[in-house]
């Protein structure tokens, strides 16, 4: 008797679910990554956008299987990948590595960072790290209803101005703010909205110069690298993984030759 493959049973893996949305998974215009701290409601946002029924639950680290789906908004088709929740991108845990590698090498067109509106300061740590990797970010300020319940007043426009990317307040559990979120994703993807992300200040002039020089050098040999600055910073830290990637040439080839589909596959995502 052949035991059941749980994944094949899972709704996430059935392409038929997408047909409802008139989406053919193999053709899409933009790739969207969904990142954020654990337990901020990423899966709920994912479900709302795709119409899928990824299991949600109120505990951190619940999403262990990778989920991907698709939606179309106006004239464009978006493929969306739900990344594991992480507090940062700087340590070496598996979750963080998957999320970080995907942002670095998977080259999403837009990265949606889901932020817990009741814990903005802590969540911003991740946002700032992601902004070092990619400019094209939309912040989904989720759980806005809870923030209200907790008597928090949030100046969304100020926040957006300070960070330099769109900030969309949402209450995903109540399906609120999803339309605006899709519009922002659309705007950033098509270039209608130009992100001017906050870069880290407070770095010593010496370090800034070092980063600049390394970035320039990296761009020279890896012309397709779109986040050389981030790589340069890792080099300054002595990140062994990045050093190896440069030595082996992995850093250079990934961007030129692989298709997005192959990239997805190489980071553990099943593609349909």
């Amino acid at each position: 008797m052949k035991p059941l493959n749980q994944c094949e049973q899972c709704t996430v893996h059935k392409e038929s679910t997408f047909i409802k949305y008139g989406i053919n998974m193999s053709r899409y215009d933009y790739l969207v990554a969904l990142a954020g701290n654990p337990n901020t409601g990423k899966s709920t946002v994912f479900n709302n956008l795709t119409g899928l029924k990824q299991h949600t639950g109120n505990w951190p680290g619940k999403t262990v299987t990778r989920a991907e789906g698709a939606f179309s908004y106006r004239d464009k088709k978006f493929k969306i990948v739900d990344l594991p929740g992480t507090y940062s991108l700087l340590t070496m845990s598996t979750d963080e590595e998957i999320a970080r590698d995907f942002l670095l090498f998977g080259k999403p067109d837009v990265t949606v960072v889901v932020v817990d509106a009741t814990r903005i300061e802590r969540n911003l740590n991740l946002v700032l790290q992601i902004l070092e990797i990619t400019d094209h970010v939309v912040i989904c300020l989720n759980l806005i209803d809870e923030a209200k319940r907790h008597n928090l007043e949030i100046d969304v426009l100020q926040l957006s101005r300070d960070i330099g990317v769109p900030v969309v307040p949402t209450a995903a559990r109540h399906k609120k703010g999803m339309e605006t979120l899709m519009q922002s994703i659309y705007d950033v993807a098509t270039g209608a909205y130009q992100c001017k992300p906050k870069r880290l200040k407070n770095i010593s002039p010496k370090a800034s110069r070092a980063i600049e020089n390394l970035t320039k050098q990296l761009n020279d040999i890896f012309p397709h690298l779109h986040n050389a600055r981030w790589i340069a910073m890792r080099l300054l830290e002595g990140d062994q993984r990045i050093i190896n990637a440069i030595r082996s040439g992995e850093l250079g080839t990934i961007h030129q030759e692989e298709t997005t589909q192959e990239k997805l596959k190489s980071y553990g995502y099943e593609t349909v």
Binding site: M1, P3, L4, Q6, Q9, T11, P38, N39, K53, T56, G57, N58, W59, P60, G61, K62, V64, L90, T118, I120, E121, L124, N125, V127, L128, Q129, H150, N151, L152, E153, I154, D155, V156, Q158, L159, R173, K198, L200, K201, N202, I203, S204, K206, A207, A210, N213, L214, Q217, D220, I221, A232, M233, L235, L236, E237, G238, I243, I246, R247, G249
Partner: protein
């Protein structure tokens, strides 16, 4: 790769090393600091806390109680007992109704149709008495408890109780050398061990992950607790006056579930001090705020995602199992059926450990799905005792409409209180079902761990039954 490019690469790396020495080793720290201070500045500008902190205080008050050293565990046990109690009481009536519809009404109707069309006896037996009845049984016995249990469990999960359970259990698991998050994967196992095994992906350390996988089987999965409910109702509930029988049976089920938790902690300790030596890694567990559960949504998704999924799986496995049961009970070699031969062979050993040959055969047939252990036991008991007037014929899987009729079959089959207790224990402590084993293989990629995941609990189960039987016989004669 040409030499020029190679040199360029090495050049970057040399430069990086030089800069690193220039700036000092604390670049990482300054960068972290700058991230934190930046985040604080931004947040300060746009977030303002108005007036009181009423709701946070409520969250903290609840947390103080449910994670307190004194009340934490009693509340956990209490909630578990309430969930089981509601499930046992609530699923009685719908189970009966489904049984009447699917088994008492539809089954004879189908038999009638088959004989009208002129099915040969073996095809009729194989399809209707074997396959159909096993499915009908699984649906009538599994569906109602699952439809009650899963939503209740999901409501607790939505509300945010699970991380608190993990918080309470964390120190126990760490003392056992395992990962604190094992408390979460254990909780997932209470629904389905295969799902529990997949959920161990939240544990980063491979050592601790394997411990979590090997011990997940001790979380009583939903396929097994119908067995416990039935057996404890018959053998434990009948020991006490009728008005408290339900409560006492529920407590017996809870005790077995708790024993499972104790065993998984003890086995974790044993593994982390023998073949999986190592220190427990630390992790920070965030206690998320309590969120008022969205009741309708929860009911809907837990019904669709969990109940229907598990039921479908049960049906998928019950169908071929029903065929197998019918075949082993109807194919004869020499003077007896295959089933008879095995039972005669296994009876001495079975009785020795306080079970019997029929139970052992049922556990083998039910490897694909624990859900069908009880119907298989009943069918085999009736067949070998020649009690054909009770069931509908040889090899027909059935459930009796009243618990007392089931009890009378067990008593005729020579069952004692010891058999009942040992069956409950063995249901908890035996090899995982084949789906779980397959999942373990896929997750670990290793035959060795998969084999251990089966052998450890099986050996332990036989040992536990043996000791209980010996002590029982020593003190109570039985």
């Amino acid at each position: 790769m040409d030499t020029k490019q190679f040199n360029e690469k090495e050049d970057i790396l040399t430069n990086a090393t030089r800069y690193r020495e220039e700036i000092g080793e604390n670049f990482y720290d300054t960068m972290l600091e700058s991230i934190y201070s930046e985040a604080a500045t931004i947040a300060k500008k746009s977030v303002r806390q108005r007036d009181d902190k009423r709701i946070y205080t409520l969250d903290r008050t609840i947390d103080r109680i449910v994670t307190s050293k004194v009340y934490g565990f009693p509340i956990m046990v209490g909630l578990l007992a309430v969930v089981f109690w509601i499930t046992i009481v609530g699923s009685n009536l719908p189970s009966d109704m489904l049984y009447i519809l699917l088994v008492e009404t539809l089954h004879p109707a189908l038999k009638g149709v088959a004989s009208t069309i002129g099915f040969p006896w073996w095809l009729d037996g194989l399809l209707i008495d074997g396959a159909y009845l096993s499915v009908a049984w699984v649906v009538s016995v599994m569906l109602p408890p699952m439809a009650i249990f899963f939503p209740l469990f999901t409501l607790l999960e939505d509300f945010g109780y699970l991380p608190r359970v993990a918080f309470n259990m964390d120190s126990l698991f760490r003392k056992a050398g395992a990962h604190g998050k094992q408390a979460l994967t254990m909780s997932m196992g209470f629904g389905c061990n295969a799902a529990g095994v997949i959920s161990t992906r939240v544990i980063d350390s491979p050592r601790e992950r394997i411990i979590a996988i090997l011990t997940n089987n001790f979380s009583l999965c939903n396929g097994r607790w119908p067995i416990l409910i039935l057996i404890s109702t018959i053998f434990i509930g009948s020991l006490v006056p009728a008005h408290i029988a339900g409560l006492v049976s529920a407590m017996a089920v809870v005790s077995v579930a708790l024993l499972g938790i104790v065993l998984s902690i003890v086995l974790s300790w044993f593994l982390s001090h023998t073949i999986l030596k190592g220190e427990a890694s630390t992790f920070s567990l965030e206690l998320p705020p309590y969120r008022p559960p969205r009741i309708l949504r929860t009911l809907y998704t837990s019904l669709i995602d969990r109940t229907i999924f598990v039921l479908w799986r049960a049906i998928l496995f019950a169908t071929p199992a029903g065929l197998v049961i019918w075949l082993v009970a109807n194919i004869s070699i020499g003077d007896a059926s295959l089933a008879d031969h095995f039972i005669r062979f296994a009876d001495p050993f079975g009785l020795f450990i306080g079970l019997n040959g029929i139970i052992l055969l049922a556990f083998i047939i039910a490897i694909p799905a624990n859900e069908i252990i009880i119907p298989t036991i009943l069918m085999l008991t009736v067949t070998t005792l020649g009690m054909h007037e009770v069931g509908a014929g040889t090899g027909v899987m059935f459930e009796l409409d009243s618990v007392s009729a089931t009890a009378s079959i067990f008593h005729t089959g020579g069952w004692t209180l010891l058999t009942g207790i040992n069956l409950m224990l063995f249901s908890l402590i035996h090899n995982p079902c084949s789906t779980t084993l397959y999942t373990i293989y896929k997750e670990t990629g290793s035959m060795k761990w998969t084999a251990l995941a089966a052998v450890i609990p099986l050996t332990l189960g036989i040992a536990v039954c043996f000791f209980v039987a010996q002590i029982w016989r020593l003190f109570l004669g039985g």
